[in-house]
Amino acid sequence: MKIKSNTRIVEPSSPKKQGLIPRRDFLKYLGGGVLIIFTPLEACKNMAEPVRATRSLPKDFNAFLHISEDGIVTCFTGKIEMGQGTITALAQMMADELDVSIENVKMVMGDTALCPWDEGTWGSLSVREFGPKMREAAAEARAVLIRMASEQLKVPLARLTVSNGIVTDKLDNSKAIGYAQLAKGKKIEKHLNEKPKVKEPSEFKIIGKPYNRTDSALKVTGEAKYAGDIKIPGMMFARIVRSPSYGASLISADTTEAEKIPGIQVVRDNDLVALLHLSRDKVDEAIVKVKAEFSQIEMSVTDKTVIDHYLKSATKGNIINSKGDIAAGLKLSDKIIDSEFYDGYVAHSPMEPHTAAAMIDGDIITVWVSAQTPFLTRDAIAEKLNMPAEKVRVIVPFVGGGFGGKADNPQAVEAARITKLSGKPVMLAYTREEEFFYDTLRPAGLNRVKSGIDKDGKISFWDFSVYCAGDRGSDTIYDVPHQKTTVFDQGENDPQVHPFAIGPWRAPGNSNNTHAREMQICLMAAKAGMDPMEFRIRNLKDEKMIAVLEAVADKFGYSPGKGPSGRGYGIACGTDVDTWVALMAEVKVDKNTGHIQVVRVSCAQDMGMCVNPQGTLLQIEGCITMGMGYALTEELQFEGTKMITQNFDTYEIPRFSWVPEINAVILDRMDQPPHGGGEPAIICMGGVIASAVFDATGATLYHMPITPARMLEALKKV
């Protein structure tokens, strides 16, 4: 039995001179004046999700809503709007449950002084976790308001009906009273001991219907305010003296030359040296005049050697899933495939860099932040400034894209420190270079997959290993008698894995794992001489997965064909945030240039109850478009602790010419609870493109992104 193994693509000469700094030593360097947020490997395990909070939402429904005297329902949520569309979906849920029109629902989001405590906007939790609790609150408010109407109108409860916020006697419609007159703009004091049920899906009028975004009128006119648009009288623009490399600590900063620019103010506090000016240009001009000295640390790993580095740094394997016996599976196998799959470090690069505006008034600090985590950001500010949390107010206006990268907000703490030290209102907006440097990157990925097929085209065993990039989405999903999943992390004495901070990137870990699994399936189907769709169906028992695969095949107009068929068709499927998703794509490969054009992509998704099919469609399109980036071009370049990538000239994100035809089908599952919608489709983009490239050319691409150079290299081996 011959085991085929692909060649690992790494630089042949890994620099070894400096050696890697053992983790303990590395951390020693990090005492005192460290300017960066440093995430040691331990955080890698939790990277899939920020630490789940234990606090629960308030019991009093007034925390979620307020009804004004003119009948406007203000809905309060600690969630924020960063493009994902919960501003619309949550308003739909509130309006439907309360029986008011959606036009009368106003959203107040991410203001720690006004909104109920919230763990943050990540993990597609807004609709699936906050939404149902908000509906319960709205249902109770509605029931209380009807009771109040019953008393005032002197009509029995059973005879009352509600529409558009007006409670009416079914037998005599002259007897009616609005929520506005009942609530009178005040807190509703009455509560129910027995909580009323939320609406059944059959009663929905607004949930499940497609609604256009409710924020677009503000966004097309420039009226929508982001953190950088906040204007405070006397506000000064801040720039901070930044370290040239990760983990470096400031030794000294000579600001003499910078201070020669009239109007420059310097703020110093241990590791923090900041310049302030009323003009952004002047502070930009001044910051480059600062002569700063840092004690830097060195690591020899680069983007070219990271895979070798992973193997040296992650020697501790934990088996997280085991069934049957791999050795027994090997014996059952007719064919065996042994592969390694790689993914590069990827940036979030939202169009809006991390930004914060801060002011101090008396003993209250207010900070407007481009954050996914208003309450955690508030707590971080309070902790750093040694202030009680209630003296810190964080307000999150519209956020210009997050994708996980704005879960972490060092700029908010920095702005708060500077405003406290200077007494001046401050605007701190990262440059694009700072944005790339301080981003909590999606880690590079390495997956080793060894699997077998028996004579009947069934998967006989599955041995899947995940290195350092998170295990979300590493589920086998296929029905395999002998299977094992091992997660490799940094061992006690292993070198430090990542030179910089890593963090959650839209469906963290799942893009890597799904890419590896689905590409392996593509190769197995080809080896078995089977159509990849038929191979999947034969090896699946999960009815939901079969359903999304069949739905996407129908939408795509798929016809069976053994790979490589020359048609350029790819398939990938998986699960994320309790949603089942399958994609099909068609690509064209230019064999002379190595350029890949994605022609069309279809998606089918089972996400349980879909609150806003239109918003979901936008998220699917966004996932597909954004996902082309990590599949085709996005890969950060770094040399040890120095980030080489600084702007969009060398970090290429998807553009208009890339855009495929996209269509999608959302399975009708209105009887089920809602699941996540903002992340699932992106997990399949690596696998669907790599398998489509294989189908087009017969070339196997193991390494994301599939750059033209990698494509041409792989074509040589066909």
């Binding site: 960063m82 493009g83 994902q84 569309g85 256009n212 975004r213 924020d215 677009s216 009128a217 503000l218 966004k219 097309v220 006119t221 420039g222 009226e223 929508a224 305010k225 982001y226 950088g228 648009d229 204007k231 003009s279 952004r280 240009d281 690069s349 939202p350 169009m351 809006e352 860099p353 519209f398 956020v399 210009g400 894209g401 997050g402 994708f403 907006a429 440059t431 694009r432 239109q614 936008l618 399109e621 966004g622 996932c623 597909i624 478009t625 954004m626 702007n647 969009f648 000239d649 994100i653 998807p654 553009r655 208009f656 010419s657 890339w658 855009v659 035809e661 996209i662």
Partner: protein, 158 residues
């Protein structure tokens, strides 16, 4: 040194005492309060700061305030007239051609400039004309449709 420059800003004759070397983007945002024009990359790569100067879409992060003397400047705030959205703005709303909205003003200004030059673009010409405006949320497919729709409406209006 500050200088008085005269130019047209969003349809109004404007005289302002400004530092002519100040970056146009910061002058628009901080001096004129027109914060619809966004900072994205500071190097002219992303297009978030696009405005029209004499009907030409330009990157305001790459220009100085002095460059607009005697010129006609239109920012996103100046596109709607008499409270009525410009056809490009309207089409962006109708098509849901945005998500986070941060690149949107630049997209709309660039598309408006494109349609001024080519009132009947093909889909390919729209892609080509919009190519250097970046969007991270992936609203591209809808932006293309919106620009196409706006072109049709603008022609119909003539």
């Amino acid at each position: 040194m500050k200088e008085t420059i005269t130019f047209q800003l969003n349809g109004k004759k404007t005289e302002a005492l400004i530092d002519p070397t100040e970056t146009l983007l910061w002058a628009l945002r901080n001096q004129f309060g027109l914060t619809g024009t966004k900072f994205g990359c500071g190097m002219g790569f992303c297009g978030s700061c696009t405005v029209l100067i004499d009907n030409e879409p330009v990157r305001s992060c790459q220009l100085s305030a002095g460059d607009i003397a005697g010129k006609k400047v239109v920012t996103i705030e100046g596109l709607a007239t008499d409270g009525k959205l410009h056809p490009v703005q309207k089409a962006f709303v109708e098509h849901d051609a945005l998500q986070c909205g941060y690149c949107t003003p630049g997209m709309i200004m660039n598309a408006t400039g494109l349609l001024l030059k080519n009132p009947s673009p093909t889909t390919e010409q729209i892609k080509e004309g919009m190519e250097d405006n970046l969007c991270r949320c992936g609203a591209h497919v809808r932006i293309i449709e919106a620009v196409y729709t706006a072109a049709k409406e603008m022609k119909g209006g003539k």
